[in-house]
């Protein structure tokens, strides 16, 4: 799936500007950004719900037409279901419009309801279910036709931690089967544990994208986590900017361009017993803040870890 130079404006407001995306087949791809950054608009353009003012969208390497869209499972941000329908009937219907025979759709629906602990509710009207249950039913409807591409818009919001885990597990299963998964979230923690690729967007623009591990490696810098026995006076040195204590761990901030190996040598010279010497990879949130600024991060997750120096140094 690819986007090229996609732009969408609503009146004078630009929701998405000149966005390029390439989602490798079979990957788990996270579209990350604070509320109002353009995630949902991007997803809706991928689904042809909105048409881009500029740029192009390609699905499975071709036009995003009906045939291509039938191979997609799309879970919108709004939790829309036919409230008056019975749960299983609804799933049958959602399967049938994707050309799955009713009987088969029914069998699959029953299997998934069982799996998600909703088997007793299959003959109830959807309106009688709790919001969380409705969300699970809607999720089943999204995956019922075993799509090649899953697009999930904020799939975790509104679910309790246990169900978030169940959902994450199912997403991983689909990933193992080779399904490509694109999901959006403003909760960096989920993306961190789940994604292989991420795209960070802020204020309608792409900030950064790529393989999460490589990004982290490239973004890693200047902080070493140390655990050792003995005095910490040896830590002080020309390459050290400061340090802070976090329980047993000492986080040492290096000056820009400094070599962490010098710190390691000094540790050996000082004769302390090192239990941990770790180049800390920044969290997604830190990377985001670094590139988009704390303002842009807004409510995007945890408060920043970087603080003025204190502690021992």
């Amino acid at each position: 799936m690819e986007l090229h130079g996609v732009t969408k404006r609503f009146g004078s407001h630009t929701a998405v500007e000149d966005l390029d995306l390439r989602i490798p087949r079979g990957s788990i791809y996270g579209l990350l950004g604070p509320n109002g950054s353009g995630k949902t608009t991007t997803i809706r353009m991928i689904m042809s719900i909105l048409l881009p003012d500029e740029g192009s969208v390609a699905l499975f390497g071709g036009e995003p037409d009906d045939r291509a869209r039938k191979r997609v499972g799309y879970l919108p941000e709004e939790r829309g279901v036919y409230k008056k329908m019975k749960v299983l009937e609804y799933l049958e219907f959602m399967g049938e419009i994707r050309a799955i025979p009713r009987r088969e759709a029914r069998a699959r629906g029953e299997r998934w309801l069982e799996r998600l602990g909703l088997a007793d509710w299959s003959q109830k009207k959807i309106e009688d279910l709790s919001k969380g249950m409705q969300q699970k039913v809607q999720f089943i409807a999204t995956i019922l036709h075993e799509p090649e591409l899953l697009i999930l818009d904020e799939p975790f919001s509104g679910l309790d931690p246990i169900n978030q885990d169940v959902l994450e597990q199912i997403v991983r299963e689909f990933h193992e089967r080779g399904t490509t998964i694109l999901f959006s979230t403003h909760l960096m923690a989920h993306a961190e544990s789940l994604c292989e690729y991420v795209c960070l967007i802020s204020k309608a623009r792409k900030v950064l994208d790529g393989n999460l591990r490589e990004l982290k490696r490239a973004e890693r810098r200047d902080v070493v986590a140390l655990e050792f026995e003995g005095d910490d006076a040896w830590v002080r040195g020309p390459e050290v900017d400061g340090a802070e204590r976090d329980g047993d761990t000492l986080l040492v901030h290096l000056r820009e361009g400094a070599d962490e190996q010098a710190l390691l040598r000094r540790a050996l010279e000082a004769g302390v017993r090192l239990r941990r010497f770790d180049l800390v990879e920044p969290s997604l949130h830190e990377i985001f803040v670094r590139h988009a600024g704390a303002d842009a991060a807004g409510d995007a997750g945890l408060p920043t870890d970087f603080q003025p120096l204190g502690g021992v140094a």
Partner: protein, 416 residues
């Protein structure tokens, strides 16, 4: 299965299984039967109670003639005049054995006046019968006294007038009256179910739009398939309901009524009700008017819903469409007053008005070519309206926020 059929099946089953649908389908005919049957039933009951009367003749010269003339309308008990007869009769009235008693005396012979005493006054028709019987008996008695030998009934015959309308060509008498009633009822039915099911289409589109479920459906089904499936599904529900009603009507007319009449001969008047049931041609035309009218209005209602994002907005926006249905109902009585005037012809040929106006005109004897022309005009309008509404629908269902202005709507239609 084809997407249109899948959507249609859902719409149909969801509605037909709804308990309000089942209730409404059964309740309406029961209500209609009650409206027709209860007055007849009450009248028949009243009839039985009022039928038995007594006649007392103080003169001894009139009773035979009066009783003879009351036969068929009353069960008459001719009571000879004795002392205390009135007290006895009074108590028979009190017990409810007879409705009342007619007293003929010298005054009756002289002035033609008689007295009726009873439990309340008899109905108009009964009073006329009594008056007529007394008058004829007295006149016959006086003529006989004077020596003339004449047939009083023949002498008094006459007074019926045939009303012939020279200015308009139309079916006569009873046939016309029956056509008018059936036409009015059918016309109201068409208005009612077009409105009812048109609004259901609107609700259904709006539900999908406000829950945004349409965004998911549209990834699997094309907008025109969704719209068509929905309209046909809801329309099929309407046809089912009308079909059930028609079937009930036929059953009541061919089995129910004869059975009732056989069991209770005094309710023979029910026979007339069957006359008001539409014939096969009228039923067929009704279906065509319903189907074409439904496509026309449901497409408009679907477009209205697609333009709106909330129930309140839709309520306002649907007003012009509903007005299109209300206008013919307003002019209906004017049109049926003189169903062949230029006004009536022109109004009933307007495709949006045809179901409500042409159907009753047809039963009132409008030329068949006008009915055919209205079919053709409606079919053409359906195609045009579906084209425009389909385009509005396609753009509208995925739009959120402000309702489009008229120029924006035009752009939707052009660009979709």
């Amino acid at each position: 299965m084809n997407s249109v059929l899948v959507v249609m099946r859902r719409e149909y089953l969801q509605r037909v299984r709804n308990r309000w649908f089942i209730l409404g389908t059964i309740a309406l005919p029961v209500f209609m039967i009650a409206v027709f049957a209860i007055p007849i039933f009450l009248e028949a009951r009243g009839e039985r109670a009022e039928r038995r009367i007594a006649v007392v003749d103080e003169t001894g010269r009139l009773a035979a003639a009066v009783v003879e003339r009351l036969e068929g309308s009353f069960d008459v008990d001719a009571v000879p005049y004795t002392d205390g007869v009135y007290e006895a009769l009074q108590s028979r009235v009190d017990e409810g054995e007879i409705a009342g008693f007619l007293v003929l005396d010298e005054g009756t012979l002289r002035e033609g006046r008689a007295t009726y005493q009873g439990d309340g006054r008899p109905g108009t028709v009964r009073r006329l019968r009594l008056q007529q019987a007394v008058t004829e008996a007295v006149v016959a008695h006086r003529l006989a006294e004077s020596g003339a030998d004449v047939d009083v009934a023949a002498l008094l015959a006459g007074g019926d007038i045939d009303w012939v309308n020279l200015s308009e060509e139309e079916p006569e008498g009873a046939e016309r009256a029956v056509g008018l009633v059936t036409g009015f009822v059918g016309s109201f039915f068409l208005y009612m179910i077009l409105l009812l099911y048109g609004v259901q289409v609107m609700r259904s589109v709006l539900e999908e739009k406000t829950t945004r479920i349409v965004e998911v459906i549209i990834s699997a089904v094309r907008p025109w398939q969704l719209m068509l499936g929905k309209i046909v599904g809801v329309g099929a529900v309407g046809l089912t309901q009308v079909g059930i009603w028609a079937l009930m009507a036929v059953l009541v007319a061919s089995f129910g009524l004869p059975a009732v009449i056989a069991a209770r001969p005094e309710m023979a008047q029910l026979e007339n009700v069957a006359e008001y049931l539409p014939g096969l041609a009228a039923l067929g035309a009704f279906l065509v008017f319903f189907v074409l009218g439904f496509f026309l209005y449901s497409a408009l209602y679907a477009a209205v819903a697609a333009m709106c994002s909330t129930e309140e907005e839709a309520q306002q926006t649907q007003v012009p469409v509903t007005m299109l249905l209300v206008v013919p109902i307003i002019v209906l009585s004017m049109v049926m007053e003189s169903p062949h005037s230029t006004f009536a012809v022109v109004m009933s040929l307007v495709p949006f008005f045809s179901p409500v106006l042409m159907f009753p005109r047809m039963l009132a004897g409008a030329p068949l070519w006008q009915v055919g022309l209205s079919f053709v005009l409606m079919a053409g309008t359906v195609v045009a309206v579906a084209w425009v509404a389909g385009r509005i629908y396609r753009v509208g269902i995925l739009m959120q926020g402000k309702r489009p202005t008229l120029p924006e709507l035009v752009r939707w239609v052009r660009e979709a």
